[in-house]
Subunit: 259 residues, 2 copies
């Protein structure tokens, strides 16, 4: 059975999109068939994979409002085994447009349940979430089996993790009982910054084996790759950032069952 995994954290700029793009691409290189769904109106995963988030009818919004079917919005990317459902700025209208729809949290889950035959051709489906705990993120949480939480090794990011865990528990209790946290990923780790080490220690004390052994260092190549429309693991596979995401992909595959 394939796994649908949301990459989530309401704190902004912690490496959600960078993790979706590079973890998905690394898994694809290792032969796993992977689908990325960009559920952030900013559309960074879409442009990070070389596609356009404007003037493109094949997008997640047209799927959610049932204008197009799942097989009509999936596009291939320049990476073998990696396909994408792109974002659009129209996504930010969904909250207001569905305000009176009581079942709106289940929008994506229903579409997944109706299209198991299409989804089953993928080993992994990753959903990139916006930096908020609003409707789009709840839709992703309800539609997912598991979660990966990027945790930037900074004070504000660590502070926000409690709010996030509370929201996940609430969704698990009321909307999606099988939801579990597959792993917590430390990102933008900087050896020269004592705060990085402190967050690492605190996170491992608190979340124990849920925290991946692999830590993603701060590496400028990771932030240069998107301007070329390529995952860093393709743009520069020898840099420390790419090596870390390859290590993460191997660790991710080795602990198949969520702890």
């Amino acid at each position: 059975k394939n796994k649908i995994i949301s990459v989530i954290n309401q704190k902004g700029g912690v490496g959600k999109t960078t993790t979706v793009v590079n973890l998905a691409a690394s898994l694809s290189i290792l032969g796993q068939k992977t689908l990325v769904i960009d559920l952030d109106p900013q559309g960074n995963a879409t442009t990070g994979l070389g596609k356009s988030n404007t003037n493109n009818e094949k997008n997640i919004y047209n799927l959610l409002i049932r204008k197009l079917n799942l097989n009509e919005v999936i596009e291939s990317t320049s990476v073998q085994n990696l396909e994408l459902i792109s974002s659009t700025v129209n996504l930010s209208g969904l909250e207001v447009e569905t305000a009176t729809n009581e079942d709106r949290a289940f929008t994506l889950k229903k579409i997944f349940d109706e299209n198991k035959n299409i989804l089953n051709k993928y080993d992994y489906v990753f959903i990139d979430c916006p930096p908020s705990l609003s409707l789009l993120t709840v839709i992703a949480l309800v539609g997912s089996d598991e979660l990966v939480v990027p945790l930037q090794t900074e004070f504000f990011a660590l502070e926000g993790i409690t709010q996030l865990i509370k929201t996940i528990d609430r969704v698990k209790e009321n909307l999606n009982p099988q939801l579990s946290v597959r792993g917590i990923l430390l990102t933008m780790f900087d050896k020269r910054n004592k705060l990085s080490g402190e967050v690492d220690t605190e996170a491992r004390n608190h979340f124990k084996s849920k925290v991946y052994n692999t830590v993603i260092p701060r590496n400028v190549r990771l932030s240069e790759a998107p301007s070329h429309g390529l995952p860093c693991v393709i743009y520069d596979k020898t840099c420390v950032g790419s090596k870390a995401y390859f290590d993460l992909a191997n660790e991710f595959l080795s602990n198949k069952e969520s702890v």
Copy 2:
């Protein structure tokens, strides 16, 4: 007349909170009476100024739902001339709770209009916004005179600026005609990263004199200060990050009229 200024960018992690806390504190040190309003459910500006965003009835949510008055939610901070209206995680419920209220965008503006006598004792009021273009950000935009837009010198951040300008123009046309962009601030500038220079050039070509001459460098002391509940300009006033925010405060005061 005082100015109400929102610090806004839907891209996450670009330095909105760091700018609100350090620009407001720098202005306070220069003798300007300043009020910070934390409109982000994450509450980073609140903890960055040493206050708690839990178990505190004096908060922006209780003001917006009219449970408390403006003078009942304003608190002093450890910084002279700097006062705060703190955040609470309850803020994230506002969107759903006010879904049927047609005037909800004007919630804060109405409160400001009713309390001009209290607001007039401040030279500047800064509103820290969450990383989204949803209701809380629209409430801030409608209630503001001017905007400061932190622009992280990275590819994804530059890409998102077009969406932001479109949203600002829409609010200006339909809800708040006097709204203007006071300045665009380049943040987390890293001399070793050619992308920083490229974003600087592109931003100044496009936004011309709206871009502040002062550029905030990437400086680890800026990210250490919040763990001590102090603005960096107080925690370590000699570091390059603090010096940059002092320079910004002086530039900010010198171009009083928005360009």
